[in-house]
Symmetry: C2
Subunit: 213 residues, 2 copies
DNA sequence: TTTTTATAAAATGTATACAAAATTTATCAT
DNA sequence: ATGATAAATTTTGTATACATTTTATAAAAA
C-alpha cells in the first residue's frame, strides 16, 4: 500500500527512524535540519512532526520544539493496559461477523508468522495484521482507530519484547487458542485468552524495561 | 489559559465551530474558504485541519479533503464504552495519590456545577474538570491524554445529553457518591460507581441519538 | 562573582507564490 | 442522447520568503 504523496512516505520513514533510533533523543528536533536530512522543505516536515506528536511519537518539551518521546516503562504499561481492556471489547463486536473467510485470513497470517528468519519489524507487522483482521470485522471505526494507534505506539517496544527467548512460541500458542475459541463461538473464553495474551506481554515488557533502563 | 500563538486559538475556535455546527456538514472543507473565513493563510488552517483529523473531529472521505465527522450513534457508543473501561482504570492509579487538596478541588467544582444558569458548554467543561482533577493525580500521561481526547470528542454530544430533564440531577448525585467512596478509600466501590456513571450516560445518549436521527 | 538587562542569533510560525493533483466542464465520437 | 476523452478550473501540496518568538550571547550593574 504505497502512497503517491511524498508526505505520506516521509511520515512512514520518520516513524521508522524513530523506532530505529535514527533521530536524536533527548534534544528537540530542528525543523531545518530535518528539512535538509530528508530533502524536503520545512512545510511537509512540520506536517509530519505534528502528526507524530498527536500520535504520541513525539512530545513537546515545554515551550518549544518537539522531541522524540523517550521509551519509558510507564508509557508501555499504559499502552498495554489500554489494549488489554479495549481489544477484548472490540473482539466482542467482531464475533458475530466472523466468517470462514476472515478466520481463513487470520490463519494464513499465523502461518506466515511461523516462517523462519522474519525480522522483528515484519514479525510485529504480521502480529498486528492478525489482530487487525479480526477487529476490522467489528465494523467499529472509532474503536478500531483508537486501538490501531495504540498498536502503532507499541511497535516502538517490540524490539524489547522479542528479547524474551520463548516469547514467540508462547505468543503463537495463544493466537491459536484464540482462533479456536472464536471458531467455537466461545466469546467469553476468547476474550479471556486475548486479555491474558496482552496483559502478559505487557507485564513481561514492563519488567524488562524496569530492569534495563 | 489563553495562548499567544494564533494557531492555538484557531484550533480552539474551529473545534467549537464544529461543536456548534458552524461548519458545513457532509461536504469537504475547502482550505481557501476557511482561510478567508478565519482571516489567516492556508498554512495554519492546514495545521489545524490535520490536528482535528487526528483527534477524530474530521474524517477524510476517500481521496481528498477533510469533512466534519457527522454525529453518529455508533461513534458515541464507542466513545462511552472506551471511557467506561479506561476511566475506572486511571482512577485506580489516582487513588493512592488523592489528598485533601485534590478532593477539595473536586468538591469546589461540584459546587460550581450546581450554580443555576450555566450554559451547556460550561457545564460540560466543569464536568470534565471534575473528572480530570481526579485523573491527573494518577500521574499517567499516556493514559490521561487518551482519556482526555475521548472527552473532547464526547463534547460534541453533550448538547443531546442534557436534553434529558433529570440528567444533571442524577449526574451530580453520582459525582458525590464517587467522591464519598474515594474519601473512604473504597476503590472497588468508586470504580463501580464511575463505570456505571459513564455507561448509563452513554446508554441514554445512544438511545436518544437512535430515536432522533 | 552573580544577577540583570540589552543585543544578537537561531528557530519557529505564517504569508505568498508556484507545482502537482484532482475535479469539473466542455468537446467529440458512437 | 450517452459515454469517453481532453481541456479548463479548482484544490491541494510544497517551496521560498518574511515576521515573530525564543534562545543564546554579551555587556553592565549589584
Amino acid at each position: 500500500m504505497i502512497s503517491k504523496q511524498p508526505a505520506e512516505t516521509l511520515y512512514i520513514q520518520m516513524k521508522q527512524d524513530i523506532r530505529d533510533n535514527k533521530l536524536p533523543l533527548g534534544t528537540p528536533l530542528k525543523q531545518e535540519q530535518l528539512s535538509n536530512q530528508y530533502g524536503v522543505s520545512r512545510i511537509p516536515i512540520r506536517d509530519v512532526l505534528q502528526r507524530l506528536k498527536n500520535e504520541g511519537w513525539l512530545i513537546t518539551s515545554g515551550k518549544r520544539g518537539a522531541m522524540v518521546n523517550p521509551l519509558n516503562a510507564t508509557e508501555a504499561e499504559d499502552l498495554y493496559l489500554m489494549r488489554s481492556d479495549l481489544e477484548p471489547l472490540i473482539l466482542g463486536y467482531a464475533m458475530t461477523h466472523l466468517n470462514h473467510q476472515i478466520i481463513g485470513k487470520a490463519t494464513d497470517i499465523l502461518e506466515q508468522l511461523e516462517q523462519p528468519g522474519l525480522t522483528i519489524q515484519t514479525h510485529g507487522e504480521l502480529n498486528w495484521q492478525f489482530h487487525g483482521v479480526l477487529y476490522q470485522a467489528a465494523n467499529r471505526p472509532t474503536l478500531f482507530n483508537n486501538i490501531n494507534n495504540l498498536h502503532q505506539l507499541c511497535s516502538r517496544y517490540i524490539g524489547f519484547q522479542n528479547m524474551e527467548l520463548n516469547y514467540q512460541k508462547n505468543s503463537q500458542k495463544e493466537h491459536y487458542q484464540l482462533l479456536n475459541a472464536l471458531q467455537k463461538k466461545q466469546l467469553g473464553q476468547a476474550q479471556q485468552i486475548l486479555k491474558q495474551h496482552i496483559s502478559q506481554a505487557g507485564k513481561n515488557l514492563v519488567a524488562y524495561l524496569n530492569n534495563h533502563m
